[in-house]
């Protein structure tokens, strides 16, 4: 019995080291994406296409030259993304919890493992957005509901489909 436990533990350790160890990735493939703002995105967050999870964020670090956040996404090898796909950081809900939603493009060639998603859209600073709507009004008594005008006031920084 003791030997059996030892063997099982050793087997699982070997499995986890081969799967999770540095460099080796038999299961998924990695792509990177640069974002201007990742918000509360953290390693382990989901990566989805059309709402279906296809991978996770495995690492986030700052590019010291461009000051962009570089997110490494490890994706299901069965999903090949067209090279002009768009990665967008969106909220799961209003209470935090963000993930990366990928909108596939139409290009004929795929993003190779180790490649980069060029079209990205960073996280939206929700409170900054609300503040920018509320302050310019100048009339606190007649402040309209913040929810309705928020996307309209700043159409460049939208993430409307997640709310």
């Amino acid at each position: 019995m003791g030997l059996l436990v030892l063997v099982l533990a050793a087997g699982f350790l070997v499995y986890s080291l081969t799967v999770g160890g540095v460099g080796s990735k038999p299961g998924g493939y990695d792509v990177t994406a640069k974002f201007g703002q990742v918000g509360s995105l953290a390693p382990g967050a989901a990566v989805s296409v059309a709402g279906v999870k296809i991978g996770t964020v495995s690492e986030i670090k700052l590019d010291p030259k461009t000051f962009l956040a570089v997110a490494r996404l490890s994706l299901d090898p069965e999903v090949k993304l067209p090279s002009d796909s768009t990665a967008k950081i969106t909220s799961d809900s209003l209470l935090g919890g963000v993930h990366v939603a990928i909108a596939p493009g139409g290009a004929a060639d795929d993003i190779k493992p180790g490649g980069e998603i060029d079209n990205t859209q960073g996280a939206v600073d929700l409170f900054g957005l609300i503040g920018s709507v509320m302050r310019p009004q100048g009339d606190p008594a007649a402040t309209p509901p913040a929810t309705a005008p928020a996307p309209a006031a700043n159409p460049a920084a939208t993430a409307p489909d997640s709310y």
């Binding site: 030892l6 699982f12 996770t56 495995s58």
Partner: protein, 268 residues
């Protein structure tokens, strides 16, 4: 004493029982303290008994593997399910691998392995040494000029302190495997990504602090078994009582020291 007793008014009688139990508790603390010092001293000074140490390493370590493994796998699985449900309340199911790994390595692995060892080993040590005490084998050993501390206590203390970290390491691995099994088989996680999240997240100190805890717990388990067995009084009933006391006191000391060690590790 008799004269002093007569001078005490009846009102103060209840106070005497408080005083008596306080003195008893202090005597117990002192006794354990002296026993600990003698035990540690006998670990570090010759003569050593390598055969005894080897036998204890096998008895405490190897034969505890099945019970530790079973505890770990079921705990990991249950922990995983609970974290998945709890995380789902704020759409954070994806943190499950990380929290399972953290919970197992920092807290549950060492504590549960130590508790199983307290039940299995502390009781066995107390019963063994208690029976030797009851049948006067310990006194016989002393007449044969063999120090019972060096021959009985030191190998057990050393073996448990060395072996519980190893058992904890096994418990950590199997506990994570339990969570992984539930996640992959029931909750539709991707096996590779679950494991990679775990390995990316877990840090050396998460495992290391658990192993340091485990060494302390191992010492406690063996110490309580030896102490209560060595001080067993009154034949078979005394041995039974020593066994119970060994298990209960080592469990309590494990939890208490776990709290203080965790405070030390998380604030330092």
């Amino acid at each position: 004493m008799a004269a002093a007793d007569a001078a005490i008014p009846a009102v103060f009688k209840p106070l005497r029982s408080i005083g008596r139990s306080t003195l008893g508790a202090l005597r117990m603390v002192g006794g354990v303290g002296m026993f600990t010092l003698r035990g540690v001293a006998s670990v570090f000074t010759p003569p050593w008994f390598p055969n005894q140490l080897l036998r204890q390493l096998v008895a405490i370590g190897f034969f505890s593997l099945p019970v530790v493994g079973l505890t770990a796998i079921f705990t990991g699985a249950a922990l995983g399910l609970n974290i998945y449900t709890g995380g789902g309340r704020f759409n954070a199911e994806q943190v499950m691998p990380q929290i399972v790994a953290l919970g197992i390595t920092r807290e549950l692995g060492p504590v549960l392995a130590a508790l199983m060892l307290a039940g299995r080993v502390s009781a066995a040590i107390a019963a063994e040494i208690g029976a030797m005490r009851a049948t006067e084998q310990i006194d016989a050993m002393r007449t044969l000029s063999t120090d019972p501390f060096r021959y009985l206590v030191a190998p057990r203390l050393l073996a448990a302190t060395l072996v519980l970290p190893l058992l904890t390491l096994i418990a950590d691995i199997i506990g994570v495997a339990g969570g992984w099994l539930v996640a992959v088989r029931i909750l539709d996680f991707n096996a590779t990504i679950y494991m990679r999240n775990t390995m990316n997240f877990i840090q050396g100190w998460d495992v290391g602090s658990g192993l340091i805890k485990a060494a302390v717990f191992g010492f406690i388990v063996a110490l309580m078994g030896c102490y209560h067995g060595y001080n067993a009084k009154g034949g078979a009933r005394g041995v039974g009582r020593a066994t119970t006391h060994a298990v209960v006191s080592s469990a309590i000391l494990i939890f208490a020291s776990d709290y203080f060690l965790t405070t030390l590790f998380t604030h330092a």
